[in-house]
């Protein structure tokens, strides 16, 4: 928004600004409604359906799609895959903004958001998986912030502080992977408490494993997806190294995603076998489960493999987008579609348009902030004064 003005652009009325501006104005109006009239005024939540789109999409999908940060920094700093180095900063930035938005969105969903620190400062409900998720997300947001700030410090010219934080890279990476393993899996484990409400095809004692493994596929795909969008809109910001390495990143991450999805497919099948739920596959819910399993797990695994073999970057990028969509489908299935499946249709939940608009508003805020940052800070290029000191 303001960045065009700062760059001395002739007009503010670019299509991007008009659309995002409209969404943000609607979002602000809905925010006022939410915090003056209560959840009931803007959502379709009921006593039977206590969690809706803001948990299913903003929290579950948001956290899964922000997994690119830990996946990329682990590949580069722990596994020594230096040829992916230029992918770290965009991935960490996407992750940081993703988690920041998750917390922002949660403040709309919980009844008394100013009490969000209560689990830490008042009483610790350590038997709750949500306690673990809250703790990990709070810590990981801090880790991502520290991983991101060197870029901001290069922009602001704070050399000494930057040096100090860059030294922590390895420790932050390890901490990031540990925290991500915990809360990515725990978001699945949250639903272990409700075997009587979640459809047996989706309910499995492997839920935490499913969520963790699929978050890796989500993170890898999100890096490819984000970079293909960035190449379209921010190519002028990218330095030669970023452009040169990008093909390798797309191929390498595509290969990894293909294998992770294949593993995920196998354990999902084992989940069905473990519960002996084969018979349910023929029911309407079973068919929808098969759409998810075959269409959004097996298919992208295969397409990634073909794309990597043929060095077909276009196919890999489309597959990344498809996999991201598959993660959305999976998380919404578990939290909304297959949850409360036994209730009569009159008591089922469908999001109110204001819930959808609020989620769109939150994603839009993320895109605007991402744009603000990449047009100013060294994200897609190395700062000339800090070359080769990584």
């Amino acid at each position: 928004m303001s960045d065009n003005a700062a760059m001395g652009a002739k007009t503010w009325l670019t299509p991007f600004n008009v659309v995002t501006g409209a969404i943000i104005i609607i979002g602000l109006v809905l925010s006022v409604l939410r915090f003056t009239m209560g959840l009931g005024a803007v959502t379709n939540l009921t006593d039977d359906n206590a969690w809706g789109l803001w948990i299913g999409f903003d929290l579950l999908v948001g956290v899964a799609l922000a997994a690119g940060g830990y996946v990329t920094s682990a590949a580069v700093y722990l596994l020594g895959m230096k040829k992916f180095h230029s992918a770290v900063r965009p991935a960490v930035l996407t992750g940081f903004l993703g988690y920041a938005l998750v917390v922002f969105a949660l403040s709309y969903d919980v009844g008394r958001p100013w009490r969000l620190p209560y689990p830490f400062i008042m009483q610790q409900g350590t038997t709750s998986l949500l306690f673990e998720v809250a703790g990990c997300v709070a810590l990981y947001l801090t880790v991502l912030f520290l991983e991101f700030v060197p870029a901001a410090m290069e922009w602001l010219g704070l050399k000494k502080l930057r040096k100090l934080i860059v030294r922590l890279t390895l420790a932050l990476t390890v901490l990031g992977v540990v925290l991500s393993t915990l809360h990515q899996s725990s978001l699945g484990a949250i639903f272990l408490i409700a075997p009587s409400k979640l459809h047996p095809l989706w309910y499995s004692s492997y839920l935490p494993v499913f969520f963790f493994i699929s978050s890796i596929a989500a993170g890898l795909s999100m890096v490819i997806f984000e970079s293909s969008l960035s190449h379209r809109y921010f190519a002028d910001k990218m330095d030669e190294a970023h452009l040169r390495e990008n093909e390798g990143v797309t191929l390498g991450f595509g290969k990894a995603a293909s294998m992770v999805l294949a593993g995920y497919f196998i354990i999902k099948v084992m989940g069905v076998a473990g519960g002996d739920h084969w018979g349910l596959l023929g029911t309407p819910y079973g068919l929808w489960f098969l759409v998810e399993l075959l269409g959004f797990v097996a298919l992208p695994s295969l397409l990634y493999a073909v794309g990597v073999r043929n060095k077909d970057l276009t196919l890999i990028r489309w597959t990344a987008g498809w996999t991201v969509l598959g993660i959305v489908v999976n998380r919404l299935n578990i939290s909304l579609v297959a949850f409360n499946w036994q209730l009569p249709s009159s008591q089922r939940y469908f999001p109110h348009w204001m819930e959808i608009a609020t989620s769109v508003f939150i994603v839009t805020v993320g895109i605007v902030v991402f744009r603000f940052i990449v047009t100013r800070m060294p994200i897609f290029y190395e700062h000339p004064e800090y070359k080769d000191i990584h």
């Binding site: 003056t36 209560y118 689990p119 610790q124 998986l129 673990e132 393993t181 409700a194 009587s196 935490p208």
Partner: protein
């Protein structure tokens, strides 16, 4: 109910002491928690319930809940299935069972689980299973995440969605303040047919068993709540299978905390071992780098040594050739000098 106030207060004290002496509630492990000793419960004999809604009225009055549009004496509300709501901690539902002349009425409210799902999932411990039996809620710490509502297998907790600033989770407290004062819950007191009996849970189970034994034709042979979800403080008797009166029979006997204890126990393992594993991976990748660097250096060295040797050999040959050439030239010069001298002499 014929319980003297004195006897009752004695029980309260016993329950309190019992809870401090009793075993603690471990979710995992070999221990089986059977509820706080001497804790209270309510037995709801649905065969005695006439659907008069007196319990609903008493509950609303006791908990200062808003007066509903239709008075509690209006039995037309029984035509539709109701669930608990922020303004009704308890509701009575009517079930017409095919083949039975009279409908069955069932009162619904919090079952006060022995190991409650709501308490186990609350990340601020806003719920507490008291030693006396009631599961109570502390609104002063509640964040409003509503995980309790997601977790409850009986779909009991409700939420004040219309409140912007201080929405609360609303549910039956088994009249905890009354119980602590030595009174029975308001609904139990109001019941004109003794379809609700308040007492020690262990005694209630015995009473229920007695009734089933004495009148086997009247009851199905099951006490709902004895083992469901690890057992509840509220117990039910019925003349028809429980699923026919809106109660789920597929909940199992596993206490709710056990459903997540496995996942929770993985946390310390990940925290403890993941850094070791990750640093191991890091060390391997570092070592690979170091080894490949060393190998590269060694190769460069051997190549350069070879090159040097070749160069030295070449130099030597060149030197030899040079010396030979010089010697040859000297020889030539001497020879030509000797020749010219000979010529001069001639």
């Amino acid at each position: 109910m014929s319980i003297s106030r004195r006897k009752f207060l004695g029980w309260i004290g016993a329950a309190g002491v019992g809870s401090t002496l009793g075993k603690s509630a471990f979710a995992g492990g070999g221990k089986h928690f059977e509820g706080h000793p001497d804790s209270f419960g309510v037995l709801h004999d649905t065969t005695l319930c006439v659907g008069c809604r007196s319990c609903e009225a008493a509950c609303a009055k006791e908990n200062a809940l808003p007066v509903p549009d239709k008075p509690f004496t209006d039995l037309s509300v029984l035509q539709e299935k109701r669930r608990t709501s922020p303004t009704a901690y308890t509701v009575v539902n009517k079930f017409d069972i095919p083949g039975r002349k009279t409908p069955v009425f069932v009162k619904k409210q919090c079952n006060h689980c022995l190991e409650p799902a709501c308490a186990s999932v609350c990340f601020v411990r806003a719920f507490e299973k008291t030693a006396q039996g009631p599961v109570i809620y502390d609104e002063s710490v509640c964040v409003g995440c509503r995980y309790c509502m997601v977790a409850c297998p009986f779909e009991i907790p409700t939420y004040e969605y219309d409140k912007a600033l201080e929405p609360r989770v609303m549910k039956c407290t088994m009249c905890h303040p009354r119980v602590m004062r030595g009174e029975v819950p308001a609904c139990v007191e109001a019941c004109p047919k003794e379809a609700l009996i308040f007492g020690k849970r262990e005694d209630l189970i015995n009473i229920a068993r007695d009734r089933i034994r004495k009148y086997p034709e009247r009851y199905v042979d099951h006490i709902y709540g004895e083992n469901e979800m690890g057992g509840t403080s509220w117990l039910y008797l019925s003349a028809v299978p429980f699923h026919e009166i809106g109660m789920r029979e597929d909940l199992g006997v596993t206490p709710a905390p056990e459903l997540t204890s496995g996942a929770l126990s993985a946390v310390p393992v990940v925290v403890g071992l993941w850094p070791v594993f990750l640093m191991g991976l890091f060390a391997i990748s570092k070592r690979k780098e170091a080894v490949s660097r060393e190998e590269m250096e060694a190769r460069v060295q051997s190549v350069s040594a070879l090159a040097e040797a070749k160069l030295a050999a070449a130099m030597e040959t060149a030197q030899k050739e040079k010396t030979a050439a010089v010697a040859k030239e000297v020889q030539k010069a001497l020879e030509s000098a000797a020749q010219s001298r000979t010529k001069e002499e001639i």
